[in-house]
């Protein structure tokens, strides 16, 4: 039986990818951030998952405005790296897991989640920056990846509650897959950030800390945060945190926090990283 063994929450700020790609990771601006991710990197190498389910959002790179899916599950053999305007990031192509992804779609639709099946899709920094942060710069990514793209660009994003429930359904779906697989779920984006308008640069460490605390202590409280509250308290783009709730939902009722890191700033964002193991 396949099992989800842990979840990782992490920001996916594009500037982090650019810092690595341009050899700036050792500079004083970036050094504390990459140092803070070292333990998570070691944890993932030790955990050796077979599959990562990466919950992220596309930033108008794979999807233009013709179609905007709320939940899009990547079922392809592989996912090329998106050209976001300056050529694709120099990172390995992302290998999918079409058999398992097809099973997930089937199970989720019958479980009343209205998934969009995606058979061709480039992946942008939302997915590749977390891979870089957690896996470094290997010649090939260490495991297969199932991308789950969530619309958080056009309002309204799905509610945190809906995301949490989808996570729970993903857990059921993974557990009904016969193969013996170790699965880790990434929730990406956030933490507090506002990257547009006169309010740009808004950062709310208190909100972020409470969010990190309650991922293990009281996730139900987090599912009651209204979309507007994310925007008011933590910036318009903090709504991305609903993707962390999707990850959290997939971990089952009891988790143990095994690592946490928090840092301001990366470009205009607060950066958070947490590792939660299923208990």
């Amino acid at each position: 039986m396949a099992r989800i063994v842990a979840g990782v929450g992490t920001s996916h700020t594009p500037a982090i990818g650019a810092a690595v790609d341009n050899g700036k990771a050792g500079q004083p601006y970036w050094q504390p951030l990459f140092k803070g991710y070292e333990p998570a990197k070691e944890w993932l190498a030790k955990t050796r998952p077979d599959v990562l389910i990466i919950v992220y959002n596309d930033h108008v790179n794979a999807f233009d405005f013709k179609m905007i899916p709320t939940f899009a599950l990547g079922c392809a053999e592989e996912f090329p790296i998106a050209d976001e305007g300056w050529g694709p990031r120099p990172v390995p192509v992302v290998k999918g897991y079409p058999e398992l992804a097809g099973h997930l779609v089937q199970s989720l639709v019958l479980d009343e989640f209205d998934m969009t099946i995606v058979n061709e899709m480039p992946v942008d920094h939302g997915l590749t920056v977390p891979l870089t942060l957690l896996c470094g710069s290997p010649p090939h990514w260490p495991c297969r990846v199932i991308p789950l793209a969530v619309n958080v660009v056009q309002y309204p994003a799905p509610t945190g509650r809906r995301c949490y429930h989808l996570g729970q359904a993903i857990r059921r779906a993974v557990e009904s897959w016969q193969e013996d697989l170790k699965v880790v779920v990434f929730g990406t984006g956030g933490m507090s950030h506002q990257i547009q308008g006169p309010r740009a640069g808004l950062t709310n460490p208190a909100f972020d800390k409470a969010f990190l605390d309650d991922l293990s202590r009281d996730p139900e409280r987090l599912t009651r945060i209204a979309p507007l509250e994310y925007m008011r308290e933590a910036g318009a783009e903090a709504i991305e945190l609903v993707m962390w709730l999707l990850m959290r939902g997939a971990l089952g009722p009891k988790v143990a926090e095994v690592y946490r890191f928090y840092h301001v700033p990366a470009s205009s964002t607060a950066v958070g990283n947490i590792i939660l193991e299923c208990r």
């Binding site: 405005f65 056009q154 979309p227």
Partner: protein
């Protein structure tokens, strides 16, 4: 159901269905700037390039003048808008600084000091009291 009082948040424009509709052609234009050849063509003759898209007059002017906040108001989605800043060889932080009315350096400094406090920015009434 819908708590759609987000017009009450100061200093931001929420990209909802209505704004997406208003900005549809503007965003499709910005989307084309993902390609190098298009960026070159745009920079070579901005007006001519824009003529290929069904922008409103206000949107066209705001693009030509790089009125970043106005573009957000007129329906640009920020991720697409960043492609215009990149086309100009500018950074994301430059664009953000212009939106906040400070220099890029001042903006970067503010972020290094921990960013902007939410106090005074939660609602329009809180903003007025500040």
């Amino acid at each position: 159901m819908a708590d759609d009082n987000y017009d009450d948040i100061p200093g931001t424009w929420i990209f909802d269905a209505q704004r997406a509709r208003a900005g549809y052609h503007l965003n499709q234009f910005l989307y084309t700037l993902m390609k190098e050849e298009n960026r070159k063509a745009f920079l070579a003759d901005e007006r001519a390039y824009l003529a290929g898209f069904k922008l409103t007059e206000a949107q066209r002017e705001a693009v030509l003048k790089r009125e970043w906040n106005r573009l957000l108001e007129l329906g640009a989605v920020v991720y697409a808008l960043a492609k215009l800043a990149f086309t100009d060889g500018r950074s994301y932080q430059y664009m953000a600084s212009q939106m906040t009315g400070v220099s890029e350096n001042e903006y970067v400094e503010m972020m290094l000091r921990g960013g902007r406090s939410p106090d005074g920015w939660r609602s329009k009434s809180e903003r007025e009291r500040h």
